[in-house]
């Protein structure tokens, strides 16, 4: 095995090892809890007033063929 080939093999092995180790590491939150104050503001909710948004969807879905996956189902924090 030539020296060049050996270097390449080591580089590939190092990359593979690095990738494997990265895969074993849980993603670190890149938005810290103390940086999320804006999401506590009700205006950032996807569904601030459920009684209202559900009614409006009711009116629209009664006239349209499409259904489901409306934003009203989800909440501001990944609700159902």
């Amino acid at each position: 095995m030539s020296r060049t080939t050996s270097r390449r093999a080591r580089a590939v092995a190092a990359l593979a090892l690095g990738a494997a180790l990265a895969g074993c590491t849980a993603p670190q939150p890149w938005v810290k809890p103390y940086e999320r104050e804006h999401f506590a503001d009700p205006i950032m909710s996807f569904n601030r007033d459920p009684v209202s948004s559900v009614y409006l969807d009711h009116v629209l879905e009664s006239r349209e063929g499409a259904r489901g996956a409306t934003g009203a189902v989800g909440g501001g924090c990944g609700c159902n």
Partner: protein, 406 residues
């Protein structure tokens, strides 16, 4: 107008209004009330809403109350209960063509419970909807999990619904009863996947996917197709719709919301929809929210477009033209626009220290639907069948409600 019966006798009957959802869609929407507050890792707030709604358009008025109460019990449980009512007065174009104007009321009750354990929230509930010619029962279940430092929330949901469908007819003495010769059933299943992701300190994304399947009687028993019959009456004849007994649909949406530094929020949403009936639909919506002192103002613009179902036609060439035939407007090709504004005012309730926050809210929306292949058949005498003007619908939607947090 008369509804033609299978016996050949013509008796006045009512028609299902076009503002009334299929029961499964109703329950889907009701689920939003119950499940939407199910924040993984956070139970919904103690809150009560009382609303009056009014829809007016296309010679239909639908109005009624809606009440929703959510209450935590201990650290791990939250319960919810809701009541919704539609009082319908309809003389829509469909009613005028094939049935008779009518009034009726639909009542819906729902209950739900959520259990929080660590970063996981379990939810389940039950919905019951009843009107003179339709009864629907639904159960639903969901599980939500916070992960990746609470930046991500994943929710899986399942629901099951059972409907019983009747058809009302008017007796010679004027009494309206269920047609004893007509009783159908429909079953529904729904599967949902939702992912919410905090992207930056000001931006959040929400992805939703929903698979829905229906089996059973899926047509509207009051509405009719029409087919050409030259030389007879108005040049067309009405006949019963024939729907497939199954339907499967897929819908996926992505929504982004961004916080603006002057305490405002901007959001945009896109939804794609496709089903086994051949309907493909796109929805684009934008919202702007502005807080100002005790007020919060909202503005919405929504655009929607769909293609028609494979078996839809405004006017079939002849009777029994194909195995499945429909003329429901909801299955036609059309584009619609919705423009809405809302205002919310936060106030204090004197003498009620147990109320931590209260708001009075109003919202107005205008809906415009521009049909591409649904014609005003009531004008057939004037223009000839198939040459009538395309139908357009303008509707005003009004909501007023009070919310309290306690």
């Amino acid at each position: 107008m008369q509804l033609e019966q299978g016996t050949g006798a013509s008796r006045p009957a009512r028609a299902v209004p076009d503002t009334v959802l299929t029961p499964f869609n109703r329950t889907l929407l009701a689920l939003c009330v119950i499940v939407a507050p199910a924040l993984a890792g956070v139970l919904p707030e103690d809150r009560a809403d009382v609303m009056w709604h009014n829809y007016n358009g296309g010679d239909i008025t639908v109005q009624g109350p809606s009440v929703l109460v959510q209450k935590r019990v201990g650290e791990s449980f939250a319960f919810s209960a809701g009541y919704y009512e539609d009082m319908i007065s309809s003389a829509s174009i469909d009613v005028k063509l094939s049935a008779s104007p009518y009034h009726e009321t639909r009542k819906q009750q729902n209950v739900g419970v959520e259990y929080l354990h660590g970063k996981t929230t379990y939810a389940m509930g039950y919905i019951h909807s009843k009107e003179p010619d339709y009864i629907a029962n639904t159960t639903f279940y969901s599980i939500s999990q916070d992960m990746f430092g609470d930046l991500t929330t994943v929710t899986l949901g399942y629901r099951r619904a059972w409907d019983q469908i009747y058809r009302d007819v008017k007796q010679p003495d004027g009494e309206i009863i269920n047609d004893p010769t007509f009783h159908e059933r429909a079953d529904h299943r729904g599967y949902t996947l939702s992912v919410s992701q905090i992207l930056t300190r000001n931006l959040i994304a929400d992805f939703n996917y929903e698979l829905l399947t229906d089996q059973g009687y899926l047509a509207n028993p009051y509405r009719k197709i029409r087919y050409l019959s030259p030389g007879q009456g108005q040049g067309f004849t009405l006949a019963d719709q024939v729907y497939p007994n199954t339907r499967t649909s897929n819908a996926a949406s992505i929504q982004l919301k961004y916080y603006l530094s002057w305490r405002a929020a901007l959001s945009g949403q896109y939804r794609f929809f496709r089903d086994t009936w051949g309907i493909v639909a796109h929805t684009i919506e934008g919202n702007y929210t502005q807080a100002w002192r005790h007020w919060v103002f909202d503005g919405t613009l929504r655009w929607y477009r769909q293609t028609n179902a494979d078996f839809y036609s405004d006017l079939f060439p002849y009777a029994n033209y194909q195995n499945f035939m429909a003329r429901d407007r909801e299955l036609a090709s059309f584009t619609d626009w919705t423009v809405g504004v809302g205002a919310s005012y936060q106030f204090n309730v004197p003498g009620a220290p147990w109320i931590s926050k209260s708001t009075a809210n109003v919202r107005f929306d205008h809906l415009f639907i521009d049909y591409k292949d649904f014609r005003n058949a009531l004008l057939a005498n004037e223009y000839g069948p198939g040459n009538e003007p395309l139908y357009k619908l303008n509707a005003n939607i009004f909501q007023i409600f009070v919310s309290i947090w306690f």
